[in-house]
């Protein structure tokens, strides 16, 4: 079964194709999202097209499928009304799919399920990456605030950190918020004595 993958994120496309390959589905075609979609699909002749739900080319693609049906190449949107839960999960995950008309549900379902899991894994990875980036940014702000306190109050680093933490606990805020306030006020009023 040939599966085409169209995704605005090349990383996610790679994650999906790896997953499909591991599951033994190795007849894959990665479509270049920047290239001419219709021509690439025409050449690939896939039976299943996996595409991210928010892909900006979906209206164009559906028009192409409708047109190609007129050319006796039946492709229909994957919607099985009897399996609303699975479809809902796909939409939640941000997956959309088109399949050649008549392909049996038993053959399609594992592909969609796998794509959903891979999309979710990608979202999780992205979330972790965002959190890591935020943590790094927070660390930098805290370091800056410590330096300011050390200079202004003539204390060493552990004492500066203790000041930050104490203020955070008393005001029920996060250390990074206190640090940010200090850095901001230093930027505004650091030259006033």
């Amino acid at each position: 079964m040939r599966i085409a993958i169209i995704d605005t994120s090349t990383t996610r496309a790679a994650i999906i194709s790896d997953g499909l390959r591991e599951a033994g589905l190795d007849d894959l075609v990665l479509i270049d999202p920047a290239g001419a979609l219709a021509r690439q699909i025409e050449a690939a002749q896939p039976e299943v097209v996996l595409i991210n739900l928010e892909n900006p080319s979906r209206d164009l693609l559906e028009d192409y499928f409708a047109m190609s049906r007129a050319l006796a190449r039946p492709i229909a949107m994957f919607v099985d009304q009897s399996d609303a839960e699975a479809t809902g999960a796909a939409i939640d995950a941000g997956v959309s799919a088109y399949v050649v008309d008549g392909l049996s549900k038993q053959r399609i379902k594992p592909v969609i399920d796998l794509a959903v899991r891979r999309f979710q894994a990608f979202s999780r990875l992205q979330r972790e990456l965002d959190e890591a980036k935020n943590a790094l940014a927070e660390r930098a702000v805290i370091d800056k605030a410590k330096t300011i306190l050390m200079k202004r109050r003539q204390v060493d680093e552990p004492a500066a950190y203790a000041l930050l933490r104490g203020q955070a606990m008393r005001s029920n805020r996060r250390i990074s918020e206190i640090a940010e306030a200090i850095v901001t006020s230093e930027a505004l009023m650091g030259d006033m004595e």
Partner: protein
């Protein structure tokens, strides 16, 4: 059951009513909370609606009918209790094509512009470089209006010119990149093409059909049945938003709100021009006034006439090369729900038409129309070629079309 309504929309000026109903408190006044969900393609708006991510959607009217009839996918019955507006779209040529056609700084006459275009289309086809137009969706009023005009001036769509799909936010880009020679899209995307110096507005779609149905509020028919009271409250909120939208004193604020990043994310000035019917046709030109470019409220514009749905079905038969089917025609008409509109606005003073269907394109002059509540006047609703559409005889109408 909460009274919250998640409403999907695309960044277009005619998404104004649900946005303003939310922002200006009309929804809250009716006890409804609106949450707006923005997307970039109609396919995604439709999918979110079908799978319960949203409860209702700002939608191109033909797509609501195509979804109900199961064109290209299993059918899901949708219901339209409220029309979000008439017209408001334009046909914009690339500046190159505009020069060839000889467009000036006035809106062209559909017949004359069409004749000039026909000669160019023939030459381009002979040179194996056929003209290509972009429309926002296969099942859009834009596609049907453009095709109606082209066929009416002797240019056969799909044969003499190519028609491709480009979603609204990318239409100006497609024109700029030379992928298409013209676009038929809603605002502010025509104005953005003009302001970027890549487009010249040739026609307002209102010149093709003076009172053409455009976006609708669509929802699953099952949702309408389950939440009938809330839907009626929502209809009242949208109707109040429509009355507010056409107040001259409200346009500045409306433009301000619509232009925001979470809604249209577009230049405020382009939005303001659209909602005040002032259209800049060519790059660097002065905006000109074209009355009723957008039509959001007067003449019971929000009333879902079954005959409007029937006209869209007739064009679906025409351009999908389907056989006319009386059962499908009836199912298409049933998508529009004047009964819900009437019961929602009963006792409000809003004009309520007595009929649910009318001859489309039959009026030259404004005329008083039968109403069960309020006074209703209908203005000229002509098609550019003077044909009229009788919803009770679709087959005869189709047989006469070019």
């Amino acid at each position: 059951m909460t009274d919250r309504f998640r409403i999907g929309f695309l960044p277009l000026v005619d998404a104004a009513l649900p946005i303003l109903a939310h922002e200006m408190g009309f929804a809250a006044r009716e006890g409804v909370e609106i949450e707006l969900v923005r997307d970039m393609t109609w396919a995604t708006v439709r999918d979110r609606l079908l799978y319960g991510h949203t409860d209702a959607a700002h939608m191109i009217a033909p797509l609501a009918i195509a979804t109900t009839l199961g064109r290209d996918r299993p059918p899901v019955p949708l219901a339209v209790p409220f029309v979000l507006g008439l017209n408001g779209n334009a046909v914009t040529f690339s500046t190159g094509l505009a020069d060839e056609v000889g467009l000036g700084n006035a809106l062209g006459d559909p017949t004359e512009t069409g004749a000039a275009l026909r000669a160019i289309a023939a030459a381009r086809k002979a040179a194996d470089k056929p003209l290509r137009f972009g429309v926002v969706h296969r099942y859009s009023s834009h596609n049907y209006m453009l095709r109606y005009w082209l066929a009416g001036v002797g240019i056969q769509p799909d044969v003499d010119v190519e028609i491709v799909v480009t979603s609204p936010p990318f239409a100006a880009d497609a024109l700029a990149a030379g992928e298409v020679d013209g676009i038929c899209v809603g605002e502010p995307w025509n104005s953005i093409a003009v302001d970027r110096g890549v487009g010249h507005i040739a026609l307002a779609t209102a010149q093709i059909w003076r009172r053409g149905v455009e976006k609708v509020l669509a929802m699953r028919a099952a949702i309408l049945d389950e939440r009938r009271d809330t839907v009626e409250a929502l209809v009242r909120a949208l109707h109040a938003a429509a009355a507010h939208f056409v107040e001259p004193g409200a346009v500045e604020t409306s433009a301000e709100i619509l232009a925001r990043p979470e809604y249209l994310d577009a230049p405020r000035d382009a939005v303001l021009r659209a909602i005040t019917d002032r259209i800049r046709l060519a790059p660097g030109g002065e905006p000109m006034h074209y009355p009723d470019f957008m039509f959001q409220y007067r003449e019971a514009a929000n009333f879902p006439w079954r005959s409007q749905a029937a006209w869209l079905y007739s064009q679906m038969v025409r351009w999908d090369f389907m056989a006319f089917d009386p059962a499908q025609a009836a199912a298409a008409g049933d998508v529009f729900r004047p009964d819900v509109y009437r019961s929602a606005l009963a006792g409000s003073g809003a004009p309520l038409p007595g009929a649910s269907s009318k001859l489309e394109g039959g009026l030259d002059e404004p005329i008083g129309a039968g109403s069960t509540q309020g006074r209703l006047t209908l203005g000229s609703d002509r098609f550019f070629d003077g044909r009229a559409f009788d919803p009770d005889d679709i087959e005869a109408y189709l047989a006469e079309l070019p």
